[in-house]
C-alpha cells in the first residue's frame, strides 16, 4: 500500500504551479513589448525633431539669402545714385532728391545708422509667406571718404558689406535673434 504522503507529493509536481510562477509570463511579455514600443516612439520622435530643425534651418538660410541680396541691391543703388546718404541716418534720406532710388524689391529698410567709416543697416523681408514673413537681418556697410584733388574729403565710397545675421522682429540692430 502506497504511502499517503508520497501520492500527494507526486500530484503537486505534475499539476500545480507554485504561487510565484503562476501567470508571470504574460505580464513579462507585456512589459517587454511596452518597452520596445516606447523605445521606438522615442527614436521616431528624435528623428522627427531633427527633420523639423533641419527644415527651420533651411528656411532661415533662405531668409538670409534674400536679405543679403536685398542689402547688396540697396547698397549698390546708394553708391550709384546718392553716395552722400551713406553718411546720413535713414531718417534724413526722405529729404534727399534721390530717395526714390533707395530701396530693394524684396525687403524693406528698417533703419540705417552711420558711424565712423561704416553704417549699420537693418532690413526686413516683405512679400513672403510665414514663417519667413518679417524676418530681419543686420548688415554693416563699410565705406571711406574719397579724397578730392584739393585734399578735402569728398563723397563716401563703399568698400564692403558685412553680414551680421538675423534679428528678432522689433529688436534693435545690435540684438541677436534666438537661433
Amino acid at each position: 500500500m502506497p504511502c499517503r504522503g508520497s501520492r500527494w507529493r507526486g500530484l503537486a509536481l505534475r499539476h500545480r504551479p507554485l504561487p510565484a510562477e503562476a501567470g508571470f509570463l504574460l505580464p513579462l511579455a507585456l512589459t517587454v513589448a511596452l518597452l520596445l514600443l516606447l523605445g521606438s516612439l522615442m527614436l521616431v520622435s528624435l528623428a522627427l525633431q531633427g527633420r523639423v530643425q533641419a527644415s527651420v534651418q533651411r528656411q532661415r538660410r533662405q531668409a538670409e539669402d534674400r536679405l543679403m541680396s536685398a542689402a547688396q541691391q540697396l547698397a549698390g543703388r546708394l553708391q550709384r545714385h546718392c553716395p552722400e546718404l551713406l553718411a546720413q541716418p535713414h531718417t534724413a534720406w526722405s529729404a534727399s532728391p534721390c530717395s526714390g532710388f533707395v530701396g530693394a524689391e524684396s525687403a524693406q529698410l528698417v533703419s540705417y545708422q552711420p558711424g565712423e567709416g561704416s553704417g549699420e543697416l537693418l532690413l526686413e523681408l516683405q512679400g513672403v509667406e510665414p514663417p519667413l514673413r518679417a524676418a530681419r537681418a543686420a548688415f554693416t556697410l563699410h565705406w571711406q571718404l574719397e579724397l578730392q584733388p584739393d585734399g578735402e574729403a569728398g563723397l563716401p565710397r563703399l568698400t564692403g558689406l558685412g553680414e551680421r545675421g538675423l534679428r528678432a522682429t522689433g529688436a534693435p540692430a545690435g540684438q541677436e535673434a534666438g537661433s
Binding site: A47, G50, R61
Partner: protein
C-alpha cells in the same frame, strides 16, 4: 504555466520585436538621409561664403595695389571671381555657378545640390569697390 499563456506571450514579444526593428530601420534610413541633406546644405553654404570672401579679398588686393595717379582698373571678370577652394572634393555635394549680368557689375552665385536644393545670392561688385558703378 499553461500553453495558451506561453503562446500569447511569445507572439506578443515576437510581434513587438519585429515592429520595433522595422521602425528602427526606417528611422535609421531617415536619419541618414537627413545627414546627407545637411552635408549638401553645408557645402552650398560654404561655397556662397567663399564667393563673398573672394570678393572681399579681391577688393583688398586692389586697394593695396592702387596707385593714386592711376585710373582704377575695370570690373573683374568671372575668372577673377572664382573662389579658391582649399582642396578638390572628389564627390562634391553641391556645385557652384557664377554669372555676371550684362553690365558686368552684378554677380549671381547659385549653389545647387541634389534633390533640387538650391541657394542663390546676388552680389553687387560696386559695393566692394570693384567697379566704378557707372551704370
Amino acid at each position: 504555466m499553461n500553453l495558451v499563456e506561453l503562446l500569447v506571450a511569445s507572439s506578443l514579444v515576437l510581434g513587438s520585436t519585429t515592429g520595433s526593428l522595422g521602425i528602427w530601420a526606417r528611422t535609421a534610413q531617415a536619419t541618414h538621409d537627413t545627414a546627407l541633406r545637411l552635408r549638401q546644405e553645408l557645402q552650398a553654404e560654404e561655397q556662397l561664403l567663399a564667393v563673398q570672401a573672394r570678393l572681399q579679398s579681391l577688393a583688398a588686393e586692389r586697394r593695396a595695389a592702387a596707385e593714386p595717379s592711376e585710373p582704377p582698373p575695370g570690373c573683374p571678370g568671372l575668372a577673377d571671381l572664382q573662389p579658391v577652394v582649399p582642396a578638390p572634393d572628389a564627390d562634391p555635394a553641391a556645385t557652384l555657378d557664377l554669372q555676371l549680368d550684362a553690365t558686368g557689375e552684378i554677380l549671381t552665385a547659385r549653389a545647387a545640390a541634389a534633390a533640387g536644393y538650391q541657394r542663390e545670392r546676388m552680389f553687387d561688385l560696386v559695393v566692394y569697390g570693384l567697379c566704378a558703378g557707372a551704370s
